[in-house]
């Protein structure tokens, strides 16, 4: 499972960075989205995937292999929320850039073209 997630994270990073290097704003934003999802998957994979165990420490205390580590899950949750907000902002900004410049080609809207 970790292997699968690692490959998935790698694919997401690679496509994300590739899209960010393109010239169109829309692709850049999709690239950013993929990149942040890639890092979420990476956190999950790096912290170790625990199958079918609750992320709860019970009383009496469980052994380390009897529960899932809740921290990576909360990290991912936080990162998803932040990523969502930031991406929404970037999308609106790109929309405004597109509207004011009439193009979503980064080379066409550059300050040199003013």
């Amino acid at each position: 499972m970790e292997l699968l997630l690692a490959i998935l994270a790698g694919v997401l990073y690679a496509t994300g960075l590739y899209l960010m290097l393109r010239r169109r704003l829309a692709q850049l934003i999709i690239g950013l989205g993929l990149l942040s999802n890639g890092s979420n998957i990476l956190i999950l994979a790096a912290a170790g995937v625990t199958r079918a165990k609750p992320p709860i420490i019970a009383d009496p205390p469980l052994r380390a292999d009897q529960f899932a580590d809740p921290v990576p899950q909360s990290l991912i949750l936080t990162a998803i929320v932040i990523g969502f907000g930031v991406l929404a902002f970037a999308l609106v900004l790109a929309h405004r850039v597109h509207r004011s410049a009439g193009s979503d080609d980064i080379d066409m809207i550059g300050p040199d073209r003013l």
């Binding site: 950013l32 890092s39 990576p72 990290l75 932040i82 902002f89 970037a90 900004l93």
Partner: protein, 501 residues
């Protein structure tokens, strides 16, 4: 509770600013008072850290490695004081007028959101929390940068947003990998367990990831190109806020993370940082000399001088780190002042293009003399703070026989003198060219407009006069940074033992 106040105060101010009736005068006073309170609280924290050592606050009383801890050592406390000072100057500059459209969109509240993010980043003792504060601060700065709708500003804002989000993704990646191996996020706990759990390969990869992420934020070569492409477009007050605070958060985070997690000065990452710092100085200043717009000159100077602040970390001695800290403090103050000075030109002539400025010495000698202080301080002319800060950075280089580096730093200082005297000569000294683009009515720069600049200039002078005590503080802060056991003990308690999981 005290340590949470630099975060809670701007949060509270931002909320109140949103709820108050949208009357300009009220908002401005409220924002200004909020910033003043930050300075007050920060000064109390600094005093306490000075007399009692590292201060720790466990949020929600969760014991250290589990909950979020706020930690203030001397370095953090000094930085939070600077946050307050720059906040006061920037909010004070709004009294003389802000674009009403910006004000209607929550300009004042956003400034406080930004201040909250920066204070949080300086005070947190948890690496994931650091990432969260980075994002808070970024969202504040994103909105502040893109509040205006001209095409150049939107384009600049987009460059800024894209590159900073990329840096955040790198940071998050590094944090995820770090947690996977170390199993903890608390700085002190990481400093304790990372030397045992690290593997050489992962250690090198992580340090490089952190270097890239913080390098983008700080504006190090070859990662700085977003900075001069975006910092010259927002209004001067916002420029001052971003230039003074945001890049320094990158430097701060770099120093904090590297001193705690990668305490091996022979690691290849420090060689990389050394080379990057040296090249940053040179490229930044060469870039500055090729520019004609004052705010672009300042942006390139900002980049170039970031090299001075990171080089001390790369050299890794108490003296060099102390020099870096002093340089960060000096540079925050001076570069913000200069961005506010560029606002004076915008106000009077609606441009910061040096080619069409001029003649201000004749009409307003006081402003010219005022601007001389930060310009020559940045250039490093004695006895101003820039000279003393440069001395504190270059001295340890010579002590460590890094002669080539010292030569680079001194040459770059000369280039700064060139760049700054050119600014002064072109903007103030040369006769005013007759220019059609000037507004017909050029307002005189009076009390309310000059007040924030006067405030920062007098602080620069005070900094120069009190350089001895300030350097003493910086040197102590550096020693605290290098004393990792002291940090771990302060946060995790005596013995640094952690309850069994």
């Amino acid at each position: 509770m005290l340590l949470a106040l630099p975060i809670l105060l701007p949060l509270g101010t931002a909320i109140v600013l949103h709820m108050l009736p949208q009357r300009r005068r009220l908002l401005r006073v409220m924002a200004f008072v909020g910033a003043l309170l930050i300075v007050g609280v920060a000064a109390v924290i600094l005093g306490r850290v000075r007399s009692e050592g590292i201060q720790v606050l466990r949020i929600g009383s969760w014991p250290a490695p589990y909950g979020i801890t706020l930690v203030a050592d001397l370095f953090s406390a000094l930085m939070v004081v600077m946050v307050g000072i720059i906040g006061v100057a920037v909010t004070a500059s709004s009294f003389s007028g802000v674009d009403p459209r910006r004000e209607a969109f929550g300009y004042h509240a956003l400034i406080h959101v930004l201040l909250m993010g920066v204070s949080g980043a300086f005070l947190t003792g948890d690496i994931f929390n650091l990432y969260v504060w980075f994002e808070v601060m970024l969202i504040g700065s994103f909105v502040l940068m893109s509040l205006h709708r001209t095409r150049a500003q939107l384009h600049a804002a987009f460059t800024y947003v894209a590159l900073n989000l990329l840096a955040s993704a790198f940071l998050l990646t590094a944090i995820g990998l770090l947690y996977g191996q170390a199993g903890t996020l608390n700085f002190a706990d990481l400093a304790r367990v990372w030397p045992e759990r690290r593997t050489p390969g992962l250690d090198a990869a992580l340090s490089m990831l952190f270097l890239t992420a913080f390098g983008i934020k700080a504006g190090l070569f070859p990662l700085f190109f977003w900075l001069p492409a975006s910092y010259h477009t927002p209004p001067a007050a916002i420029g001052a806020l971003l230039a003074g605070l945001l890049t320094k958060v990158g430097v701060y985070a770099m120093i904090r993370v590297f001193t705690l997690l990668f305490p091996d000065p022979t690691a290849s990452v420090y060689t990389a940082l050394l080379v990057m710092s040296g090249v940053t100085m040179v490229v930044g200043l060469i870039g500055a000399i090729g520019q004609h717009d004052l705010r672009r000159v300042l942006s390139f100077n900002l980049v170039g001088h970031i090299g001075f602040t990171t080089v001390g970390l790369a050299l890794w001695t108490p003296a060099s780190l102390g020099g870096s800290i002093l340089y960060v403090l000096h540079h925050m103050l001076v570069i913000s002042t200069l961005f506010l000075v560029s606002g004076l030109f915008l106000r009077q002539r609606r441009t910061t293009d040096l080619r069409v400025l001029g003649g201000l010495y004749r009409t307003q000698p006081f402003v010219a003399c005022l601007a001389m202080v930060p310009l020559f301080s940045l250039a490093g002319i004695p006895p101003l703070s820039g000279f003393l800060a440069k001395l504190a950075v270059v001295g340890p280089m010579i002590g460590q026989r890094q002669y080539a580096l010292a030569a680079i730093a001194l040459t770059v200082s000369l280039l700064t003198v060139l760049s700054m005297t050119r600014v002064w000569e072109e903007a103030f000294w040369k006769p005013a060219p007759d220019h059609a683009s000037w507004p017909a009515h050029q307002p005189r720069l009076g009390g309310a407009i000059l007040a924030p600049v006067v405030l920062l200039v007098s602080l620069t002078i005070a900094f120069s006069v009190a350089a001895g005590p300030v350097y003493g503080l910086a040197a102590r802060a550096a020693q605290q940074l290098l004393d990792r056991d002291g940090y771990v003990r302060a946060v995790l308690g005596e013995g640094g033992q952690r309850a069994a999981r």
